[in-house]
């Protein structure tokens, strides 16, 4: 069929894979990308539990404003959309 918008998925060349963990499970990302993108591609959307009812939350504004994608690394709470994936990084669900 006529596609006016080409499919570029196969034309994207990504950097070497790196492996990190999310809540103890291995996840593959690419060196230099942010955690939010790598976790999303791996289907890991539930990144933190909300206060009060513990509801599952994940990346929302993707701009470093909403604080919904925060995760815990080395005990510190950081925004997954502003944190770079590195080999061996241990990421925990926050909140």
């Amino acid at each position: 069929m006529i596609r006016l918008v080409p499919n570029h998925a196969l034309k994207i060349v990504r950097s070497a894979p790196v492996v990190f963990t999310f809540d103890g499970q291995s996840v593959e990302g690419h060196a230099g990308e942010n955690l939010a993108g790598a976790l999303l591609r791996a289907g890991r959307l539930h990144l933190r539990n909300a206060p009060a009812n513990g509801g599952p939350r994940g990346a929302f504004c993707c701009m470093g404003l909403c604080q919904e994608c925060t995760v815990r690394i080395d005990g510190q709470v950081v925004e997954a959309c502003r944190t770079e994936v590195t080999q061996g990084l241990a990421v925990e669900r926050a909140g």
Partner: protein, 470 residues
Amino acid sequence: MSDRFDIIVVGGGPSGARAALAASAQGLNVALIDEQSAIGGQVWRAKNASILSAPKTHETRAGDALRRDVLASDITHIEGARVWQIETGWTLHVLRKDVSSELTCKSLVLATGAREYVQPVPGWTTSGVLGLAGATALFKQSLTPPGKRTIVSGTGPLVFFVASEIRRLGGEVAAVVTPNSRRDWMRALPSMLGRPALLMRGAIWVADLMLAGVPIYWQRVVTDVSGDDQVRGVSIAKLDQNWARTSEDIMLAADSLCLGNGLIPNIEAAHMLGVPIRHDHALGGWIPETTEDGGTSIDRLYLCGDGTGIRGAEAAAHQGTLTGLCAAADLGHGTVNLQKQAKAKWLKSARFGMTMTALSIPRVGQAQLTTPETIVCRCENVTRATIEAELNAGAQSSNAIKSGSRAGMGPCGGKFCATAIAQLIAQQSGAPVANIPPATPRPPLRPVPLSIAAGSFDYDALPIPKPAPL
């Protein structure tokens, strides 16, 4: 290098970068502070380092041109840095790599851009729901679609751009849902005819979706998102002309949802510094009062770009040039001719941008989509019922709601609930939203780690300008 500059520009989107370039070209010592690691703002956000190569798009080309210009200039570009406090005079407290430093300047230009309004509906906090503009940020930096099968819902042209980008990145669009009617677009058409290239881009997005058999639900809205720890289904309903629901819901299956209701200016920094604000639906809601060339009632404080009203990237760039020239002229550098040119270009592109903004102006039915159980403040998990209880107990301002219910007090600083809370107050009190200003912003403007080291800028760590082209 010193920590004192003639002009500091905050925000590296098209407006801030052009302001910095214009002032720098007049011979001034300019610093450009931006949160991201590369110039471009949200609209021309650069790809992250994991993307080794990818086909170029309109956005990458525009962003690359801007990045090239900044790199070739004498601007001190301070990337990955967040301004969390500003003292009049001007001293800026800037957080970069966990170290906070102070930078000073004679004149300050704020080009803080826009964020997104997302109307709260039941289930909108479910993982897999992304902001519509948020999705574009994700696409631009990660080239990753939001899921395998996505529903895209929102107002204005952005909903079609996002759907088109999902298809470009290999994702599937389950449906497009837009409160706008075909008639809304027909009415916008005359103002768009002067920009045939932009009109053509939009026509191609829509035509591609139609040819791919993607259903486009016009004059419809998302009413509910279902799914436990991830989106499974999205309910939609038909709207009348005032965007009030007129039909039963139907449910569509999807694993992700991009949801947005137009952009709103980021005014917190200007508001905090004492610039008067006013409400204008046609410009995205609350905007700071500025002169046409970016001046404010505060000496040597200038504002430009979507943070002064949503007019789109092209207008923002021209406005940035104008404001940069004006700031430079006030410091004794520059000529009037260039300002005239920039102003003419700005006004022309602003007309187009405002036609697009008009498609997202909220209508009375929109606020009714929130149920009593719907979470309004995401950070603190505060429902509409809790906020209404505060209202019934006598709270009548955003500030009062905040101290009473904690709504708007979370780490996002109220950025994603202020508009909805104002709507609730308006509904309760019968006053127009224009009478309900947002809560006064307090520092920090951005989240700051509990213990931050004080330090001074390590300029050696900044990228070294190289001659253009890249």
